[in-house]
Symmetry: D2
Subunit: 377 residues, 4 copies
Amino acid sequence: MPGERRAGVYLISRCGSTGGCSISRAEELKGEKMKALRKVKSGKGANWEDIDMPQIGEDDLVVRVKATALCKSDVDVYEWTSLVAGANYPLPITMGHEFVGEIVEVGKHVKNFLMGDHITGETHIPCGYCHSCRMGNGHICSNNMGVLGRTVDGSFAEYIRIPEVSAIKIDKEVPISQGALMEPFGTAVHAVMKGEVSGKSVIVLGCGTIGLMAVELSRLLGATKVIAVSRTPAKLEDALHYGADVAINTREHDLVEVVMDETHDIGVGVAIETTGDQKIINQVMKILEVAGRCVFVGMIDYPLTFDGFMNKVVYKELILTGIFGRRLYETWETVASILQSGRIDLSHYVAAELPLVEFKKGIDMFSSLSGRVIFYP
Amino acid sequence: MPGERRAGVYLISRCGSTGGCSISRAEELKGEKMKALRKVKSGKGANWEDIDMPQIGEDDLVVRVKATALCKSDVDVYEWTSLVAGANYPLPITMGHEFVGEIVEVGKHVKNFLMGDHITGETHIPCGYCHSCRMGNGHICSNNMGVLGRTVDGSFAEYIRIPEVSAIKIDKEVPISQGALMEPFGTAVHAVMKGEVSGKSVIVLGCGTIGLMAVELSRLLGATKVIAVSRTPAKLEDALHYGADVAINTREHDLVEVVMDETHDIGVGVAIETTGDQKIINQVMKILEVAGRCVFVGMIDYPLTFDGFMNKVVYKELILTGIFGRRLYETWETVASILQSGRIDLSHYVAAELPLVEFKKGIDMFSSLSGRVIFYP
Amino acid sequence: MPGERRAGVYLISRCGSTGGCSISRAEELKGEKMKALRKVKSGKGANWEDIDMPQIGEDDLVVRVKATALCKSDVDVYEWTSLVAGANYPLPITMGHEFVGEIVEVGKHVKNFLMGDHITGETHIPCGYCHSCRMGNGHICSNNMGVLGRTVDGSFAEYIRIPEVSAIKIDKEVPISQGALMEPFGTAVHAVMKGEVSGKSVIVLGCGTIGLMAVELSRLLGATKVIAVSRTPAKLEDALHYGADVAINTREHDLVEVVMDETHDIGVGVAIETTGDQKIINQVMKILEVAGRCVFVGMIDYPLTFDGFMNKVVYKELILTGIFGRRLYETWETVASILQSGRIDLSHYVAAELPLVEFKKGIDMFSSLSGRVIFYP
Amino acid sequence: MPGERRAGVYLISRCGSTGGCSISRAEELKGEKMKALRKVKSGKGANWEDIDMPQIGEDDLVVRVKATALCKSDVDVYEWTSLVAGANYPLPITMGHEFVGEIVEVGKHVKNFLMGDHITGETHIPCGYCHSCRMGNGHICSNNMGVLGRTVDGSFAEYIRIPEVSAIKIDKEVPISQGALMEPFGTAVHAVMKGEVSGKSVIVLGCGTIGLMAVELSRLLGATKVIAVSRTPAKLEDALHYGADVAINTREHDLVEVVMDETHDIGVGVAIETTGDQKIINQVMKILEVAGRCVFVGMIDYPLTFDGFMNKVVYKELILTGIFGRRLYETWETVASILQSGRIDLSHYVAAELPLVEFKKGIDMFSSLSGRVIFYP
């Protein structure tokens, strides 16, 4: 009916105009121990340990982790693949970074959060003062940026300490399994927004969780045609359910041929590349139309080589770019408005749910799933 | 299924790489007369006349008009409202500009069309050489731009002459009633693309044909929330059917209050203004969020006054802009990709169908309809 | 010589990667009184008073004001013009906002400043948490934004308290008279950057301090032609010295005629409007080329009326926008890089220097000067 | 003086609003022979031959070449390097594409040129109808784009035939040696405009003619700091004369070290890459700041490999793009406005002048010169 509101399911809340919220302290947590999954040394594996509760700082929150999701980068840390092995990782450290939780302790200088608030976490912790931060690129802070689960203790634990700048308040009605997915969802939102897909045809390479989210988001954010690419039939079926117009299995079809046929030999306007695969990337340069745009998201741990860079990239005036995390905080505002629209249901990205102690089982099933494993500490 | 294509219903075709298409001539048309609706003098009214068939030029096509739609500007010409009365209109002239037809004669210098091709017409005829044209703004050519139905004879006739640069080839499978709607649809596409709606909340003021199309397109092109505004309950119902999340009847509700409530007091990101109403426009300045954008589409034939321009526009760093026609030819390419997507069905914008000779009846029903009157010559 | 650096004169410094700077406290200031120019009640005038020293907060700095400049808005507050009279101004308040000073006290939670640092002040104090702030528009914070000299005590005093987020560290080598000009210079930088002048012709309407700076900056930031407009011959001479290619005195020449002649009847690409004059604004709409851009900077305290908005703005697809303050902190980073380039010498904007106690004399001479009055408390 | 115009030296003219210009024909040229430098077969070398005068088509002009410049790509064709050897070059063909001349014959369908007009040539000949052309990218036409000196006979001859769409009218006052430089100058303009340099620091890699022009243009189009890089001291001296703030000789200094020092460890905002050198390109990825932009211009005839693409490109959200020719016709309009500004003097890019018959001498001196060799047929 005219005038009626269709209420959104999710809400990223604000304190409003009251200025400083009152702050509180949960004294009973002091001196306790908690369970955490810790990377203690290089090489494969991680330890399930009892460690001290996090010590709060003036600008921090301590949060009881209610759910935390397993990201490909966590698997890399566990397996100690080449993507992480050379990265000067400070050890030991608590793994994990995609989570939702409830605030149990509030630092005395915190301005916008209250005990009991539900939050999800922004993984990147900006300094706020370097040139990158001052230019609006705090998510790529150049001044020893903190990264949850990498340079500061993460969310594979019963509790996590997080600075106020990295806490994103969410409505308590958000189901906790879905709350743990908001951070990777934000990555997909950032990628698709960077793709400037409105009015364009879009190809999404790879149908992992980020890829599938990118398919669904491309459609929602304005693509006129969405092509999904994977080697796994079940993931391609999911992609079609989430809004892809065309699904291409590269085990069975020639990517370049199908895309050029689908696009009347024009090529696609935008590519969201999540595979990190050398061969795929060279194919993408062929199928992008003149002035097309490729957003790199997938991990690349080898010297990437472009064949025919002059003809395929320079002369076609392609735009190649990448993304890192989520823009602070434009992406989170867009995440809020998308979830409030009710047009995307994060629950279909919950592929499995396990107690955190069964982390090994989650890691084993990671690559075969279409969606995320959610751990409950 | 993976690999399968969902065929689009519409296709804007091309000659392909064959270079020049062969050209032909329908000699039997010479010397004939045809029926046309002519504006012959200032003041209300128009004449249904027998006039000479159009004389083709080297760069022209002659097209048999199969359907032609009635635009608000045609009604203004008929009624001789203040919007057209002062505009130095060359008379007499054949009215009309939204149409679809079949090519019956091809100028000898034409390169890309064949006898029998179906086309729709681009109303604006650029010179191709002035600074505006050279800067990619040929749709706002500064060098005595031709305008169908205004400065050159239009489509309310059995036949129309149109230069090759203004002919848009369409697939013969496009139903002719819908083919006549592609030009106004292009206007709506240009407006919404100019709004840069992807990831933003959008308000569309006015639910005439362009307004309703803008509602549907805002959703398709990436808006996270769409608010439709009108004073006509039936049009608001249509807006909700076409994808609006919220519909506001300004006869019953306070626009500013409802929008601020709907947007958690943030305001909307983008406004598509099609009413041309002084009061509405001042309200829009209030409800646009900081750095929001207003695309003006509606006719304004009075000195437009902004209350509080400093606080509401300058200090909020709003972006006010407008559109004229369709970008040549980016908008038409986007129209093609949208219609090929099959996500929009133009048939629901066909509100009535009449023989052209009953033009008076169509003009009388114009303002009460939700959608266009289609005339058949 | 190859490899040689041409050192910039100005430097906006950073603490670097040391994280928190040590903090200090100047105990001897407590309980003292200081001189300040206070607006105590509505109506013309202001009081030169002895008031308490500012009380520091945890996130604040206390700064000894070394120089402070007189802005048009300060004159409006003194004169109590219509621009400020209706704005619900909290009184009494210390006036002034353009300044440079030395830190004499550092709040215990401050992270990036040290006793003795020289700073200039950003007038707008963002909350950091509202939607505007989160979207990167903190300079237009929607949550009761603090404004120096308006909602919090300003710089026409011996000392000022300023929150860390509004302090901009500058090199001690910057002459203090010029340091006081960096805030208005930032306004001009924001305006010209928003104009996107690179490769375009630019007209600057009005040659007050911001206008003259905009002339010089348009040239430096990439305009291919700069036209300056004023009614004061001496200011036009300055504009020509600062890089204008053409200077138009609107007392003697017809603005529209000269501009169209200068631009081969194309019009200008960008207008920077600093006059706020109704007649000028309507002329600007005429002389902007198709798809041109107007950045509104000048104060407008009346209902602004556009003649022929349809033909001059909408159909030409002009972009009208405005600016408020300086982007936080992109503008300040650009200010730094411009001043470091050594291509602009702020000293020529110092028109007069007076002890602050002679504020009345400064106010009296304001409108006749080409440049700013600098006060020394 | 206020109101006075500083006349530009160059003018790109237009017919104005007269519509069609009258057309003429120089009959006396029929059946004559002319001298031309022809590539007749693969392998090094070219022939100085007598060939038939060009045959005009309806849409064409025949132009007497008054001066023509030697581009690196002409040298590649002569030497038959790997950059051209594999490109399916149609032979025989008249070489050359940078030129200025006088119209001696006008095709009967030509609308905007007259006998005796001076023109320079746009090398890329768009079809006007493919998707690329329709999207405003006619300079990268996807439909067998014609290229002067490559797919159609070029300018190393006494006369050249050129279609009207590729003719750029210039003022007769432009010295002919400089007229021949407008096409490569347009390439540099396109590159620097694509770099979006306004308010940014810029590094130009390579100081060939395009590189030096890019240095000068970066300064003019708004860079706040310009760093030039070469291995030739004389070219670096030129770069400093043309506006570079810093010149780096990579034979003597470490590029990364010097740039990071020059930029306070921030890096540069924009890179214009003209060397095509693998090592340089990997260094550029290191020295670009977060969200920086690299415009590729230099020829790359090998598989280009990026070391650490993830950390240096993706995570920094760099934007990599390239350019091809000049935008039709935005770049030419910008070229006109820059040259009219009088701020750039093309004469300093004339390094040598020779009769065309001494082409071999010009080719031999190409790489050692700072600027272009101009040939006179």
